[in-house]
């Protein structure tokens, strides 16, 4: 497996800007400037991705383009498929044959992939699916959004199944999580989703030059041809209800195991916090800025950031809810994760929401206003806070 970054094509070379200074702590690790979509693609390559299948869609097209150049260079598989249906089904075939596979798309394309994700969950096939979210519903727009949270966490296709969802909040974290996603996908034989958004896909950030690597998988269940062994079949069809129930019981046990072992989150300034802002991905970065400004004003705000959206870090959130005056959930949506937050805290503190839709991004000023609204009233520990915040919502901000 290759290490380090590739020799870039001339037009890309400008992006490999070596930063003169290392980290603030004096660590002189070299860092390079990379676009999110390209960093995710390269992270997959460094993590040993054997095959990539995709279809052009904004705002993730650079991921496909990076793969189109790099995978053939390395003698690996790249196909621009006839549709997202084609791409995910190629992934299904390649995964069943034992390959490490990635597909990527943006919201409308993920809807098309939903069918095969259900089949892959039912057939227990590993794949990493990247969704660089854009605004919906329908064709929607091409600006960043988090409105696919329900789709990502509550299932994409039909049937009783779950898909682990990793939500990076920076390009550096996305690089780390790609390798983690392949690892989880293969250990549990399940599709795994990287849920990014148009900002993470399009933005450029300095990242460390060395990307995480992952040893090659050794699937002992893959289809290789029945040479010297009994034939195998990989399928999701179980026509007998008794058999299908047993299969579902097996799947649910696997999902419980994932929920126990793979849940991830991070938090900041939690120790003395009275109010918590809960956000993931790009929204968490806006929330962090708002938190710092609120602290300057004397409002003791902490940040809780789910890194896995399924499994949702509900126990961790519930544990802190009791001592809080309230939680503010910030999303680039009409309010989707907020439902899981409310389920997690079970009424232990008020939970209010602030979001923007359709590709609009909440500003730190808006979030700060919502925090100011929440802080004094929420101390009463009642849902009056919710009503209060809704009434005081800044003009022009859609709920």
């Amino acid at each position: 497996m290759t290490t380090g970054l590739p020799t870039a094509a001339p037009k890309r070379r400008a992006r490999r800007v070596r930063l003169a200074r290392g980290r603030a702590n004096g660590d002189m690790k070299t860092r390079v400037l990379m676009k999110g979509n390209e960093a995710i693609a390269e992270a997959a390559i460094q993590a040993g991705c054997d095959a990539y299948f995709g279809y052009p869609i904004t705002p993730q097209a650079e991921l496909l383009e990076w793969m189109a150049r790099r995978m053939p260079e390395l003698g690996r598989v790249f196909i621009q498929a006839e549709s997202e249906l084609g791409a995910i089904n190629m992934a299904l075939g390649a995964a069943a044959a034992g390959a490490r596979v990635m597909v990527s798309s943006s919201s409308p394309g993920i809807s098309l992939m939903a069918e095969a994700m259900s089949y892959m969950a039912g057939s227990e096939l590993p794949v990493v699916v990247v969704n660089v979210m854009r605004g919906g519903p329908g064709l929607g727009g091409i600006q960043p959004s988090q409105s696919d949270y329900f789709q990502a966490t509550k299932g994409h296709g039909h049937g009783d199944y779950r898909v682990p969802v990793f939500a990076p909040s920076s390009i550096g974290e996305a690089i780390e999580l790609v390798a983690t996603a392949f690892d989880v996908a293969e250990r549990y034989r399940t599709p795994v989703m990287i849920l990014a958004d148009g900002i993470l896909g399009q933005a450029m950030e300095p990242v460390e030059e060395r990307f995480p690597e992952l040893p090659a998988g050794r699937p002992d269940w893959a289809l290789t041809g029945a040479d010297g062994r009994a034939p195998r079949s990989i399928r999701s069809l179980h026509l007998l209800a008794e058999e299908l129930e047993q299969h579902n019981i097996h799947l649910q046990a696997k999902y419980r195991s994932i929920a126990e072992r793979e849940v991830r989150w991070s938090h900041e300034l939690l120790d003395d916090a009275e109010v918590l802002v809960v956000a993931y991905g790009t929204a968490a970065r806006v929330a962090r800025t708002a938190m710092r400004r609120a602290r300057e004003e004397g409002i003791r705000v902490g940040l809780f950031r789910p890194v896995t959206l399924w499994p949702f870090p509900e126990a961790a959130l519930r544990a802190v809810a009791e001592r809080l005056a309230g939680m503010l959930v910030v999303e680039l949506s009409a309010g989707q994760m907020v439902e899981d937050v409310r389920l997690a805290v079970e009424g232990r503190c008020p939970v209010v929401f602030h979001g923007r839709m359709g590709g609009m991004v909440p500003t730190p000023v808006e979030v700060l206003a919502a925090l100011r609204d929440l802080a004094p009233v929420a101390c009463e520990g009642s849902y009056d806070a919710l009503r209060y915040t809704l009434a005081q919502r800044p003009a022009g901000v859609a709920l």
């Binding site: 995978m71 690996r76 057939s123 289809l223 041809g225 029945a226 990989i234």
Partner: protein
């Protein structure tokens, strides 16, 4: 679970090419005991099929099993099953099987093809699967010239769901969703998809066989064999359509269904070789005007 046709003399491991013993060239056959005049191909399992009485799938399964066995491809084969009547094919052919979502077998096979360059990749689909819901996947796998052998069973009906109209249903044909017969003004025209695919330069071999009578069954086996050889030569995509009967779906006795298969079905879907780029010039009826030079190389390489 043994069926009545299970052979007496040889076990499932025997090579079906030994059938040639019946031509009397093997003088030891007489002294060694009963002559083998029929045996189950090693790749065909002994399990009873779920197919309706008179259905053509069983014959086509057998042809595939015989050809793969004769070419020694069983241990290398990764096959993709359809959604439709043949969904349980993994119970009947002793191969590694992957079940594809409805219509997606050619895309699934593409994924296998590219990551397993040494594998022999086979798809088996019906008319609803291949020519309706899976039209995009079959066209583009063919257009890419994937080194895949596609078996396409056309019985002009959705059998598994109870006999609804298929894209290949003939005009005037009664189905449960065209109760007064397929009308072009309402339900459009039947698709001759193998002729469509034969236009594509990525398609190295396209032929249509039939299970209508023993002579055509023999020719169909030859087509399937050729379609496998085309893949082994990495010449491009290969498809064999087999027109077949569905007595239950057609509302006929088995005998009537054979007559209809050899009559109206064969008229609408004439059997023969449409394109064979390994050989060069197309032969047989309905040769398409398109398509050009033999492929210099196929894209069937993997990573």
């Amino acid at each position: 679970m043994r069926t009545a046709t299970t052979d007496r003399a040889a076990g499932p491991g025997a090579d079906s090419t030994k059938l040639r013993a019946r031509h009397g060239t093997d003088s030891t056959a007489v002294s060694a005991g009963p002559r083998i005049i029929h045996q189950r191909p090693a790749l065909l399992s002994e399990r009873s099929t779920h197919y309706c009485p008179g259905c053509g799938h069983g014959v086509i399964h057998r042809l595939v099993a015989e050809v793969l066995g004769e070419l020694g491809l069983g241990p290398r084969t990764i096959a993709v099953a359809p959604v439709g009547c043949a969904v349980f094919i993994y119970d009947y052919l002793r191969l590694d099987w992957l079940e594809a979502p409805h219509g997606r077998a050619p895309a699934v096979a593409t994924g296998i093809r590219r990551v397993r360059p040494d594998a022999f990749v086979l798809t088996y689909q019906g008319d609803g699967d291949l020519a309706a819901i899976g039209t995009a996947e079959i066209v583009h796998a063919a257009a890419r010239g994937e080194a895949i052998t596609a078996i396409f069973v056309n019985n002009a009906i959705y059998g598994m769901t109870g006999g609804q109209m298929a894209p290949t249903t003939l005009l005037g044909q009664r189905t449960t969703s065209t109760p007064t017969g397929r009308e072009a003004g309402l339900a459009g025209y039947p698709i001759r998809i193998t002729e469509m695919l034969a236009q594509l330069p990525g398609v190295a071999y396209a032929a249509r066989g039939s299970v209508g009578d023993p002579a055509w069954i023999g020719r169909t086996k030859g087509y399937i064999r050729r379609a496998c050889e085309v893949q082994l030569a990495r010449a491009g995509f290969a498809i064999v359509e087999v027109i077949s009967n569905c007595p239950v779906g057609w509302g006929m006795t088995a005998r009537e269904s054979i007559a209809w298969l050899k009559g109206p079905m064969a008229e609408a879907y004439p059997p023969g070789v449409l394109v064979d780029r390994l050989k060069g010039a197309p032969e047989g009826p309905a040769a398409p005007g398109a398509a050009s030079s033999p492929r210099a190389h196929g894209p069937g390489r993997g990573g």
